[in-house]
């Protein structure tokens, strides 16, 4: 057994805080003091605090949006903690025996190592993970190339010019309720800067980020790809993450300058609530990328299987001429889960291209909405969009909806939209069964086939796990 002190030391290393801050928690409620408290703990410069306060002032005049399909009970923002240091070991489950057995079963199926299972389910762990040392090795390699990859709290202090220039430049302070809330109270997240003409030699993953866990609730990520550079960023983890915070309102901003490319892949598997729809995360995330330079490209790939409610539209603002925006999405909802997700492609530059491939799968009593906007400006001559939205229904108690908004102010542009809704076919299942596959294997095969175009977009090592995840998410939904 390790002593309490040892555990704290580990934490200090893991999160980059000093031990005496460890047990501090901001007072409940949303007010200027809370924001000042967060800013102070992060040792932020004054401009950052001022920025946060500006957002907070704006927030007072904003209302929560209410046009989405999934409704949720009113959130009392004064009853939330906006900053709390990682829970002390005594508050956490003591062992995996205290964790929902269903969760453990899923970890086993995904082949998650025991130590990792503990971390994900929030069990008090008294060992330093291998991933920490792995992260350090990778960091050296990145530094050599001039790549900056660090917590955003660190970037605010060490690279203030870059942060100041780009933060809020894609998602303005005044954007909408949840984005503005995030700007006021965000705690941490990732910062990436790729210098001109550098191809990032590895997939950047939050897995390697030292402060990976418990920054979740109001995460803020900023990725800048300078001229001619390339980066592929992976967010999330295929294992279900248990989390005490119900509301997640993250902001992710991507900026691609001339000839730069950013590929952003997400696997979202937050706790979806139990079979009866009790509990689960509200994942209300704002993700937006600006193709600011000519010939730039931003590609979003998302596999959304978790959360009670998923509400997000990773978008591309195609400012630079010849820039390209892509959105590949798989959204799976089972039991009582709800998703309202899609993308926005805003064409401003000439010859801009966008492609949207969305696969929605609905099972149990779940409800799945694709909502997307293709907006072609009058100056965006010769621009093109191709949209394909496919929905797959399993059983007869679930729903699938497609809400595409298309605005075109330009007669030289081409827009294509295809949509299908299908039910999983009994005959297909029979065919697979007759070839020796059981019901679950058959469903997994058919659904993975349905999602193939999106799964192909994921980096190799992620794709295999994502396939397994797709199968697991739908277990028991047929037959």
């Amino acid at each position: 057994m390790k002593t309490e002190k040892d555990i704290d030391t580990n934490k200090a290393y893991k999160y980059g805080f000093t031990t005496d801050i460890e047990n501090i928690r901001a007072p409940k409620g949303l007010n200027e003091d809370t924001i000042k408290f967060i800013s102070k703990i992060k040792k932020e410069p004054k401009w950052m605090l001022d920025w946060r306060l500006k957002a907070f002032n704006r927030l007072k005049n904003l209302k929560e949006p209410n046009w989405q399909k999934p409704k949720y009970p009113k959130i009392n923002y004064q009853d939330l903690y906006y900053y709390s240091a990682p829970k002390s070991a005594s508050d956490k489950p003591k062992s995996l025996d205290e964790v929902d057995p269903k969760l453990i079963e899923t970890y086993k199926k995904l082949g998650i190592p025991l130590q990792e299972q503990k971390r994900l389910s929030g069990v008090a762990v008294d060992a330093v993970f291998d991933s920490v040392s792995v992260a350090t090795t990778f960091k050296d390699e990145l530094t050599k190339k001039g790549i900056i990859f660090c917590p955003i709290s660190e970037a605010i202090i060490k690279h203030p010019d870059l942060v100041k220039k780009y933060i809020g430049s894609v998602i303005p302070l005044t954007d909408h309720y949840f984005a503005t809330l995030n700007s006021a109270v965000f705690t941490d997240g990732s910062f990436v800067y790729i210098p001109p003409n550098v191809k990032c030699p590895m997939e950047l993953s939050t897995y390697f980020r030292i402060n990976a866990s418990e920054t979740g609730q109001f995460e803020r990520t900023l990725i800048i790809a300078d001229k001619g550079s390339y980066v592929s960023y992976l967010e999330g983890c295929t294992a279900p993450m248990r989390d005490e915070n119900q509301l997640h309102a993250a902001n992710v901003e991507l900026i691609a300058l001339d000839d730069a490319e950013i590929k952003y892949s997400t696997v979202q598997n937050w706790y979806p609530g139990d079979k009866n729809g009790v509990g689960g995360i509200y994942n209300f995330v704002t993700k937006r990328g600006a193709c600011r330079g000519k010939n730039s490209k931003i590609s979003w790939t998302q596999v959304e299987t978790g959360s009670a409610i998923t509400w997000k539209y990773p978008s591309c603002i195609l400012q630079g001429d010849n820039s390209v925006g892509e959105f590949y999405s798989i959204a799976i909802t089972n039991n009582h889960q709800k998703a309202d997700t899609g993308t926005k492609m805003i064409h401003l530059g000439k010859n801009t291209k966008s492609k949207i491939i969305s696969k929605g799968i609905s099972a149990g009593k779940a409800d799945n909405t694709y909502r997307g906007l293709v907006d072609i400006n009058s100056k965006a001559t010769n621009s093109r969009n191709y949209t394909q939205c496919d929905s797959l229904l399993m059983g007869n108690k679930c729903g699938a909806h497609t809400v595409p908004y298309i605005k075109n102010k330009n007669s030289t542009s081409t827009i294509e939209h295809e949509a299908t809704t299908t039910k999983i076919n009994e005959e297909q299942l029979f065919y697979c069964n007759q070839r020796g596959l059981n019901q679950e294997e058959a469903v997994s095969l058919i659904v993975n086939g349905f999602c193939k175009e999106v799964l192909q977009q994921l980096p190799m090592e992620f794709a295999v796990e994502a396939q397994k995840l797709v199968s697991i998410s739908l277990e028991g939904s047929v037959g």
Binding site: Q428, Q434, G436
Partner: protein, 245 residues
Amino acid sequence: MLKIKNLKTSVNDKTILDGLDLSIKPGEVHAIMGPNGSGKSTLANVLSGKNGYESSGSIIFNGENLNDISIEERAQKGIFLAFQYPLEIPGVNTNNFLKTSLNTVRKARGQKEIDTLTFLKLIKEKSLELGIDEKFLSRQLNVGFSGGEKKKNEILQMKLLEPKLAVLDETDSGLDIDALRIVAEGVNTSRSNENAFLIITHYQRLLDYIKPDFIHVLSKGKIVKTGGSELGEQLEKSGYSNLEA
């Protein structure tokens, strides 16, 4: 190998099979002929365990009553159904499907799963035997396949899985002469003393290429006549109507 006794099957209270008896021994090829609606495809589906049928009577396969055995377990025990209308599964690579299927069946038989390289060699061999262009193996399962390609794919799967009892449900319908030969060749080269075939067909045509040991005439859910291969030719001349009671 297979003993069907007094099999009665209905769908939504409509009787389709009405006291069918049939015995098949290893090494035999049986053909079932009969007019539309006589219950031929229902027999194939009931043998493979498809849901949606109310059945009584018994189906004994290698000494085991199949009543409570699932579709996939029957398949793993060696019952293969070549579909009349093979299903399209978009996004699923044909090779991948065949490999998954083969390994599932092998596992159930206590054999080792085979790796991709071995599989590709094996499938190449089998396609060559059947004179099938292996290009379609890298396409999505049955998607955009012609009618003939779909049926050839069924026979290829049969060769691959080496079932004990293969049921061919109107595999010959809609085939041109070349495809018909390939299908027949597939059956003929697979025949052994250990396996058996049940060939469901409308026409004598296929039986010119596959010589059955027995021909049964199915009418109104019962076998009304059984004979040797000469019965087929007789039916071709006189039709089914003379046989119906």
